[in-house]
C-alpha cells in the first residue's frame, strides 16, 4: 500500500477507510473528520482508533469516574492525583509513594503466560514513569472453577507469567488474591499492582515542555507484537467462535525491563528529563500524544527513526505497536550527551526521534513526508464521551428477595466436616502453590507478604518507616448490591491494612466489569463508582488513580461485578507491626466486632449453590472506629496478633491463624455452626496476653468484644470438636497441589 500522507488525504477525501475494523464507530469516524477538516490519513486513523478505544479513552466510564474528583476529600497527603500515570502520596520523612493497579485480563485469557507477564511489566513502567523505584508488586487474580479444564490451562500460565516477569525484575511479590467463580471461565481477571517509592523532589510528569527539547525513545526496539491490543482485545466482547487473537498479545522480555528500570533511575537521579512517559497500551500513539498534550507546545516526530525489530513494519503499525519495555523522554539538548552515555552504560538502545515545537500540533513524518498532523489533545484527552444507558438489571430484585438459608452444621461431626470443607475449598485453601512461585524476599525489605492480611515493605532502613498495601474485592456482595459491595471492599482493604497497625492513606482501584453496552452492566458500574466515591469521602481517603476493564464477558454472560480496591497505608515503625498470628500458648483470643446471621454472599452459601440475598450494609463509621482501635492496639502494644475476618468468616481466620506458626487454640462458642460461617463485615480476631485483656476492653470502648478462648496445643478445639493441626493442615494445603500440582 502506498504511503498515505496528509497531502494525499486532503486531495482524496473520499477514499474508503477501515475505521470499523479498527474498532471505531461511524459517528466517531465522522468526528475525527470534523476535527481535522479532512479525512484522517491511515496513520492518524490508527492513532485515533487506539487512543479512542474504551481501554485508553475511558469513554464509557469517564462521566462516572469524575465523582472521584468531585467528592474528593481534601488530603494533604496527595501529591499527584488522577490523570498522571499513577497517583503519588506523601508518607512522611520526605518520602513519596506511588501505587496503581491495572488489568491485563483479555491478553491473559488468550495467552496466559505473556498476558500476565506483560501486565506486570506495564504497571511497573507506570510506577517507574513517576520517577519512583518500584519496590513491590501484588496480583489479584480470578479464574473459572478450579476444576474446569480451561482453568488448568489459564491458571498455571498466569502464575508462571506473573512470577517469570516479576521475579526477573527483582520485585518482591507481597500479596494478592486467587478467587474462583464460574463467571470468570473465559474471562479470567489478571490485575497487577505495583508500589514505588521516591523522594518528593524526584516526582516526574508526562509533559513535553520547552520548544527545542528533544523527544527520546529508549528501551526495546519496536516490533509487530500487540498491534491494536487495546482496541481489538480490551475493548470488545469475546465471541465464542471468534478467530484466534494471539497476534494482538504483546511478548515481554523482563531482562530488558530490569535494565530499563536501572538505566531510568540513574537518568532520573541526574535530573536529565523534563518529562517522561512509558509506552504501554497504544504504544507510540499514546506516548507522543500524551506528552504533547501535557506540555504547552507541539511536537515533531520522525517516525522512520524508530528502531525496529521487524523492518517491514508500516508507519501505522509502528504507531500502534505495543512492544514492551520502551520509554519516551523529553530531554533538554544540553543534557542529551549524558543521557546517551547512561543508556550506553546499560546497553539500552536509544534514539532521538523528534523535538518539542512552539506550535500546537503533533506532526509525524515518514522519510520527510507528513503522515500525521493533529491537535494532540484531540487524540489523548478529547476522545468521545458516552453517557451510556443504564438500568437496574432484572436479576437484582429477584436475587435480593431470595431467602438464604443453607443447612447449618449442628453436631460435632457436622461442625468438624464444615471446618475441614471450608479449609479445603479452593477459594479459602492455602495459596502457597501460587505464592511459592513468586520471589517475596528480593530487595530485603519485605516485612509481610502472603498469607498476611496486607503486604508490608520497609522503605527506610534507619527510621524503619514502611508502607502496607492490601487489595480486596467481594464480587458476591457486589453482585447483590454493587453500591454496598464497593464500600465493603474499601472497608475490607482498609481493615487489612489496619490489622497490622498501619494507617490507611490512599486508594487505587481496578474496576472489572462486563460490556458497557449492556445497560445492566453499566448500572452495576455506575453504582460501584458511586459507592466507592461515597465510601472514600466518608473515610477521608483520596482516590489516586485506577483502571477500568470492560467487556469481561463471553457472549451474553458477564463476570460478576468485580471492583478490586487497593488501599495503601503507612506505618512509622515496621518493627512494631502486629503479626497476623500467634506463636505461643497461653494467649487470650477475642473477636472484635458484632456478628449477625446473614449468610448472603458467603462462601458457605456459595458452596450450597446459593448466591442471592441481601448484601450487608457497610457501616464505615464503625469501620473507622475499628481501624482506630487496631492502630492503637499496635502503638500501645496491646495485641500479640490480629487477623481480619472476611471470606470464610471465623472458621477461615482461625484455620489460618493456628496453622501459621503451628500453635493450636481452644475456643468456646455459643452457636458454633452459624458463628463460624457468617461473614459479617467489620470483624477481627486478636490475641492478647492475659495481662492485657483489661487494656483491650478499655481500648475497645463500645465496640463489641467476644472472648473466644486461649491459644496452645496441637489442635483446633471448638467446644466438643477437636481437629488436629496435622489434619487441618492436610485439608488446607493439599487442594492446589491436587488441582494443579
Amino acid at each position: 500500500m502506498a504511503l498515505d500522507t496528509v497531502a494525499l488525504a486532503t486531495n482524496n477525501p473520499d477514499t474508503p477507510q477501515p475505521f470499523a475494523e479498527l474498532g471505531l464507530k461511524s459517528d466517531e469516524y465522522a468526528r475525527i473528520k470534523e476535527i481535522l477538516g479532512r479525512r484522517p490519513t491511515s496513520s492518524e486513523l490508527a492513532m485515533y482508533s487506539v487512543m479512542w478505544s474504551e481501554h485508553c479513552s475511558y469513554k464509557s466510564s469517564k462521566v462516572h469516574l469524575k465523582q472521584f474528583g468531585d467528592k474528593a476529600v481534601k488530603s494533604d497527603a496527595l501529591l499527584v492525583g488522577i490523570g498522571e500515570n499513577a497517583g503519588v502520596v506523601d508518607v512522611g520523612q520526605g518520602y513519596a509513594v506511588t501505587f496503581k493497579v491495572e488489568s491485563h485480563n483479555h491478553p491473559s485469557f488468550i495467552e496466559p503466560y505473556q498476558g500476565a507477564a506483560t501486565g506486570v511489566g506495564g504497571i511497573v513502567r507506570d510506577i517507574l514513569t513517576m520517577g519512583a523505584r518500584p519496590i513491590a508488586v501484588m496480583d489479584p487474580l480470578r479464574f473459572g472453577p478450579a476444576d474446569a479444564p480451561d482453568t488448568r490451562r489459564v491458571l498455571p500460565g498466569v502464575i508462571a507469567g506473573v512470577g517469570g516477569y516479576g521475579n526477573c525484575l527483582g520485585l518482591p511479590n507481597i500479596g494478592g488474591e486467587v478467587v474462583f467463580d464460574e463467571t470468570y471461565l473465559g474471562n479470567p481477571l489478571v490485575n497487577a499492582l505495583c508500589v514505588g517509592v521516591m523522594k518528593h523532589s524526584d516526582i516526574k510528569l508526562a509533559k513535553a515542555a520547552g520548544a527545542g527539547n528533544l523527544v527520546v525513545l529508549y528501551g526495546a526496539k519496536t516490533g509487530g507484537d500487540g498491534i491494536g491490543g487495546v482496541s481489538v482485545l480490551a475493548s470488545e466482547t469475546f465471541e465464542a467462535t471468534g478467530p484466534a487473537k494471539r497476534p494482538a498479545v504483546q511478548v515481554g522480555d523482563p531482562f530488558v525491563e530490569k535494565v530499563l528500570i536501572e538505566c531510568s533511575l540513574e537518568i532520573f537521579a541526574e535530573d536529565l528529563v523534563v518529562g517522561i512517559q512509558d509506552l504501554g497500551g497504544a504504544g507510540l500513539s499514546c506516548a507522543t500524544s500524551e506528552l504533547a498534550s501535557g506540555g504547552s507546545g507541539g511536537m515533531k516526530v520522525e517516525l522512520d527513526r524508530v528502531p525496529l525489530r521487524d523492518a517491514t513494519l508500516s508507519p501505522e503499525e509502528i504507531l500502534m505497536s505495543e512492544s514492551q519495555e520502551r520509554m519516551c523522554a523529553i530531554v533538554e539538548p544540553s543534557k542529551i550527551d549524558r543521557f546517551l552515555e547512561i543508556c550506553k552504560k546499560w546497553d539500552v538502545t536509544v534514539t532521538v526521534i523528534g523535538e518539542v515545537t512552539d506550535g500546537d500540533r503533533l506532526e509525524i513524518t515518514w522519510h520527510g513526508e507528513i503522515i500525521v498532523d493533529v491537535p494532540p489533545r484531540t487524540v489523548a484527552h478529547e476522545g468521545p464521551v458516552y453517557s451510556r444507558p443504564l438500568a437496574e438489571p432484572a436479576y437484582i430484585a429477584r436475587v435480593n428477595a431470595e431467602v438464604i438459608n443453607p443447612v447449618i452444621p449442628q453436631t460435632a461431626q457436622e461442625i468438624k466436616d464444615a471446618i475441614l470443607m471450608m479449609a479445603a475449598t479452593p477459594n479459602l485453601a492455602d495459596k502457597s502453590w501460587v505464592t511459592n512461585q513468586y520471589d517475596r524476599y528480593v530487595q530485603g525489605n519485605t516485612v509481610q507478604s502472603q498469607p498476611d492480611d496486607s503486604g508490608m515493605v520497609r522503605i527506610d532502613e534507619k527510621t524503619h518507616l514502611g508502607v502496607a498495601v492490601a487489595t480486596d474485592a467481594n464480587a458476591n456482595w457486589s453482585y447483590l448490591n454493587p453500591y454496598e459491595g464497593a464500600k465493603l471492599a474499601l472497608a475490607e482493604a482498609s481493615r487489612n491494612i489496619a490489622t497490622a497497625g498501619a494507617i490507611p492513606l490512599a486508594v487505587t482501584n481496578c474496576l472489572n466489569f462486563g460490556s458497557p453496552e449492556d445497560p445492566g452492566v453499566m448500572w452495576q458500574f455506575a453504582e460501584t463508582v458511586r459507592g466507592l466515591a461515597d465510601g472514600c469521602l466518608e473515610m477521608g481517603l483520596p482516590v489516586t488513580g485506577g483502571n477500568v476493564s470492560f467487556y469481561n464477558q463471553t457472549g451474553g454472560v458477564a463476570i460478576l461485578p468485580t471492583p478490586v480496591i487497593g488501599v495503601l497505608g503507612v506505618i512509622d515503625d515496621v518493627r512494631t507491626r502486629t503479626p497476623m498470628s500467634f506463636d505461643r500458648a497461653g494467649l487470650e483470643l477475642y473477636l472484635i466486632g458484632a456478628s449477625d446471621e446473614n449468610l448472603s454472599g458467603s462462601e458457605w452459601a456459595y458452596l450450597h449453590g446459593m448466591r442471592g440475598g441481601q448484601a450487608p450494609t457497610a457501616d464505615l463509621q464503625r469501620e473507622m472506629r475499628l481501624i482506630k482501635l487496631l492502630v492503637k492496639g499496635r502503638t500501645e502494644n496491646i495485641f500479640t496478633a490480629a487477623h481480619d475476618l472476611s471470606q470464610g468468616g471465623l472458621t477461615a481466620s482461625l484455620t489460618e491463624m493456628v496453622l501459621r506458626y503451628n500453635v493450636g487454640a481452644r475456643i468456646t462458642l455459643a452457636n458454633p455452626g452459624i458463628t463460624l460461617l457468617v461473614e459479617t463485615p467489620g470483624r477481627v480476631v486478636v490475641a492478647v496476653e492475659a495481662s492485657k485483656s483489661a487494656m483491650l476492653k478499655e481500648a475497645a470502648g463500645d465496640i463489641p468484644l467476644t472472648y473466644l478462648g486461649t491459644t496452645g496445643g496441637d489442635s483446633l478445639i471448638i467446644n466438643d470438636v477437636e481437629i488436629s493441626l496435622t489434619e487441618l493442615r492436610t485439608a488446607h494445603t493439599s487442594t492446589f497441589q491436587k488441582l494443579f500440582g
Binding site: A160, G163, N167, C168, F255, D347, T435, Y441, R458
Partner: protein, 222 residues
C-alpha cells in the same frame, strides 16, 4: 576488610548482598561487570538474579564479563569467593566449581524457607557455623537442581566438599540433597539458597544467614 559485590545486567540481589556484608561488619563495595577492576577488595560475592536474562544458560554469558577475569585470577590465588544462586551458576559455568544447576524437578520457580545442614565449616564462608548446624534461609530459583557425574559426586563427598545439604524433602531434585559446594582449597563456595535474605528476623525467616558474612570477615582477618 572490603567485600566486593558484582552487579551484572539483570543482577537482583546485589543490594541485599551489600547490606548483609555491611551488617556483618565488612566494608561492602559495589563492583561493575564491565570494569576489570576489583578495587582492592579482599573477597567477592556473585549475587543472585538473572544476569543477562539467564539467556543461553544461567551464568553462561556472565562468566565472560571483563570483571570475571580478575575474579577468576584472584580466586585461584586464594581470595574468598561466594556465588549465591545465579552466582553459583556463574561459578559452575566458569569452571571454578564442578557440576551444573538445572531446572527444578517440578519445573516451577520455587520460593520457600528452606532448612539446611552445614556439613563443612572449614571454608572461608562457613567457619562461624558448627558442623551439623541446621539453619533456615530462603531458597528461590527456577534452576537450582545440582547435577554432576557420579565420579565428581563421589569426589565431592569423599573430600568433604559438600558445604550444605537440604534437610527434609528434596526441594528441586539436587543430587544427594546438595545445596552448596566448595573447591578443594575451601575459598570458593557456591550456594543455591540465599543467606543474604536471612540476616534479620524482620525481613527474613531467621538471622541464620549472617554467618556466611561474619565467617569471611574472620577469614580475611586471619
Amino acid at each position: 576488610m572490603k567485600v566486593g559485590v558484582i552487579t551484572f545486567p539483570g543482577t537482583l540481589d546485589d543490594r541485599d548482598a551489600l547490606r548483609a556484608a555491611s551488617v556483618a561488619g565488612t566494608t561492602a563495595i559495589s563492583l561493575w561487570h564491565d570494569e576489570a577492576d576489583l578495587k582492592g577488595v579482599d573477597a567477592v560475592i556473585l549475587p543472585g538474579g538473572f544476569s543477562y536474562g539467564d539467556y543461553l544458560r544461567c551464568g553462561a554469558i556472565s562468566r565472560f564479563a571483563p570483571v570475571m577475569t580478575k575474579v577468576i585470577d584472584a580466586a585461584n590465588g586464594g581470595m574468598p569467593l561466594l556465588g549465591i544462586c545465579n552466582g553459583f551458576q556463574v561459578l559452575c559455568e566458569a569452571h571454578l566449581l564442578p557440576g551444573a544447576l538445572t531446572r527444578n524437578k517440578d519445573l516451577h520457580f520455587l520460593c520457600r524457607d528452606q532448612k539446611l545442614v552445614i556439613e563443612n565449616n572449614s571454608t572461608a564462608w562457613t567457619s562461624d557455623y558448627t558442623k551439623g548446624q541446621e539453619i533456615l534461609i530462603p531458597l528461590k530459583n527456577g534452576e537450582g537442581s545440582f547435577q554432576c557425574d557420579d565420579h565428581t559426586l563421589a569426589q565431592l563427598e569423599s573430600e568433604g566438599r559438600i558445604v550444605a545439604r537440604y534437610v527434609g524433602e528434596n526441594p528441586n531434585g539436587s543430587r544427594n540433597l546438595i545445596a552448596g559446594i566448595t573447591n578443594e582449597r575451601g575459598n570458593i563456595v557456591g550456594l543455591m539458597p540465599h543467606p543474604e535474605h536471612a540476616i534479620e528476623t524482620l525481613t527474613g525467616p531467621s538471622s541464620d544467614g549472617l554467618g556466611f558474612f561474619t565467617s569471611v570477615l574472620k577469614a580475611m582477618v586471619k
